[in-house]
């Protein structure tokens, strides 16, 4: 068994988290809460020390440069947000939220149509038919696209052919969700393998 603290401490922490599988216990809760604090502190340092401070120190180095002055506006709005987090609600916080939402929406507007709607529609409009595998698959994809969209069409109550399309859309979605569940299970199993490999190899030296 390893005696290196860089292995032993993570091993103890790992086993403390696994203890929840037996039953709820204070050790698990303690580690969980410690993790929340560490994660928040880690993000804080990355944002402030590596992100904000270098940029602001550059701006403060040239305080009369228009670019530097312009950086102070979002900074003031950001301080407003922090103030609202400690209970002092300011108008600056509202401007901060409004500014972020407006810029985000403006940047997304032209690109969402291009990258998601037009490209995906174009890929669905390819030669299709029953004479070849490629054509058959393209036909199935086109039908699945239409039925999925029909399922989310709530303008009118689906009746007749529209209901048939909507139900087919539900079945298509179920196939996709089934595939996603399987892939997600695969993903989570990998994470457990990682922890077991750490315990068996690095801590207990049971495998090479």
């Amino acid at each position: 068994m390893s005696t290196d603290p860089s292995i032993l401490i993570p091993a103890v922490v790992t086993l403390a988290v696994f203890s929840i599988l037996y039953r709820e216990n204070p050790v698990f809760r303690a580690v969980e809460r410690l993790g929340v604090g560490l994660a928040a502190g880690y993000a804080f340092i990355l944002i402030v020390r590596t992100g904000l401070i270098p940029r602001l120190s550059k701006a403060l180095g040239a305080p009369f440069d228009p670019s530097s002055v312009l950086l102070l506006l979002p900074l003031a709005a950001g301080i407003g947000l922090v103030m609202s987090a400690v209970g002092h609600r300011t108008q600056l916080a509202r401007f901060a939220v409004a500014g972020a939402a407006a810029i985000g929406a403006g940047l997304a507007l032209p690109l969402l149509m291009q990258a998601l709607v037009l490209s995906q529609m174009k890929a669905s409009m390819v030669p299709m038919g029953l004479s070849s595998v490629v054509g058959f698959n393209a036909l199935v994809i086109a039908i699945c696209v239409l039925t999925t969209m029909a399922y989310f069409s709530f303008t009118r109550e689906p009746t007749g052919i529209r209901a048939l399309f909507a139900i087919s859309g539900l079945y298509t979605l179920m196939i996709a969700f089934g595939a996603t569940f399987a892939s997600l299970a695969m993903s989570r199993i990998t994470l457990l393998i990682g922890r077991f490999l750490f315990l068996l190899r690095d801590v207990f030296h049971l495998v090479q």
């Binding site: 599988l21 985000g104 993903s187 990998t190």
Partner: protein, 279 residues
């Protein structure tokens, strides 16, 4: 035999027994150290082909977006990709779009760079983390120095040989996104959507199926999905690593999931059948 009692005991099995089975399904194959082999999929081969276009001195942007929770799945991809890039003599600019994964990525690349004798600042640079993925992706196109005046280690970007003359996406021969979350989608929308930059991706299993449609549209040139994708890439590089090793444990746990679903449903059907028979 008291069939109703047997069926009832199966349906009321203690959850901890299932947990134990999962633990054994993972631990036993790891102890056996059996190395699996996989047949690469078209998507993984396309990923490899994308990296194969790189030559000596080319600059690659590696964007990582995952935290320690997804490290077992995505670290093997980062390791294999960095190895592939360094073996080809290309250079690497790495950035993190998830604060919690920042230290993890730096440590991984550091190890590979040391193994291939690559110098920091000349052959690779770690930019660190910035919030707001869309803004970071768009800002890298025009003003990387404004967004990142310094790298993660506090060096001035303008003073490092690799990044001194970095002006945007035209300087990158390839972009690789290793992601467990929504930033892969942001790269498709803001990166490829606006600049049509050549892009490959390594995705966690959970989001892999949703991104298959971007492979069809060539918005993503090639993709590795989950541990299997990482294992295929390791095999193509002839670089057996953790992914190939873990694949046997993965197989056995999948089988356990299948068995649990089947047994759960058989016990349900049997309960219904017994209830009907007793009426």
């Amino acid at each position: 035999m008291d069939y109703p009692a047997v069926v009832a005991s199966i349906t009321k099995i203690d959850r901890r027994f299932i947990y134990l089975l999962v633990g054994l399904a993972v631990a036993i194959p790891l102890l056996l150290a059996h190395q699996a082999e996989v047949e690469p999929t078209e998507e993984s081969m396309a990923f490899h082909a994308g990296v194969s276009t790189l030559g000596e001195g080319d600059v690659v942007l590696l964007s990582t977006d995952y935290h320690a929770g997804s490290a077992s799945e995505l670290n093997p991809m980062v390791r294999a990709f960095a190895t592939d890039v360094f073996r080809r003599g290309a250079r690497l600019v790495v950035l993190s779009l998830n604060a919690q994964g920042t230290g993890l990525v730096e440590a991984e690349i550091n190890k590979i760079a040391a193994e291939y004798d690559r110098t920091y600042g000349v052959d690779w640079v770690f930019l660190g983390f910035r919030p707001s993925t869309p803004a970071v992706i768009l800002a890298l196109s025009a003003s990387p120095h404004s967004l990142f005046p310094q790298d993660f280690r506090g060096n001035e970007l303008a003073e490092l040989p690799l990044t001194a003359h970095l002006n945007g996406y035209r300087d990158f021969s390839l972009i690789c996104v290793i992601s467990s979350g929504a930033t892969a989608q942001d790269w498709v929308i803001y990166g490829h959507g606006r600049f049509q930059c050549p892009m490959v991706a390594g995705l966690s299993g959970g989001i892999g199926p949703a991104f298959q449609s971007f492979v069809d549209t060539h918005q993503i040139a090639g993709v590795l999905v989950g541990l299997r994708g990482a294992a295929e890439y390791e095999q193509m590089l002839e670089l057996p690593g953790e992914a190939l090793r873990a694949l046997f444990a993965q197989s056995l746990t999948h089988m356990l999931f299948v068995a649990l679903i089947v047994i759960g449903n058989i016990s349900l059907l049997a309960t219904r059948w017994i209830e009907n028979a007793m009426r």
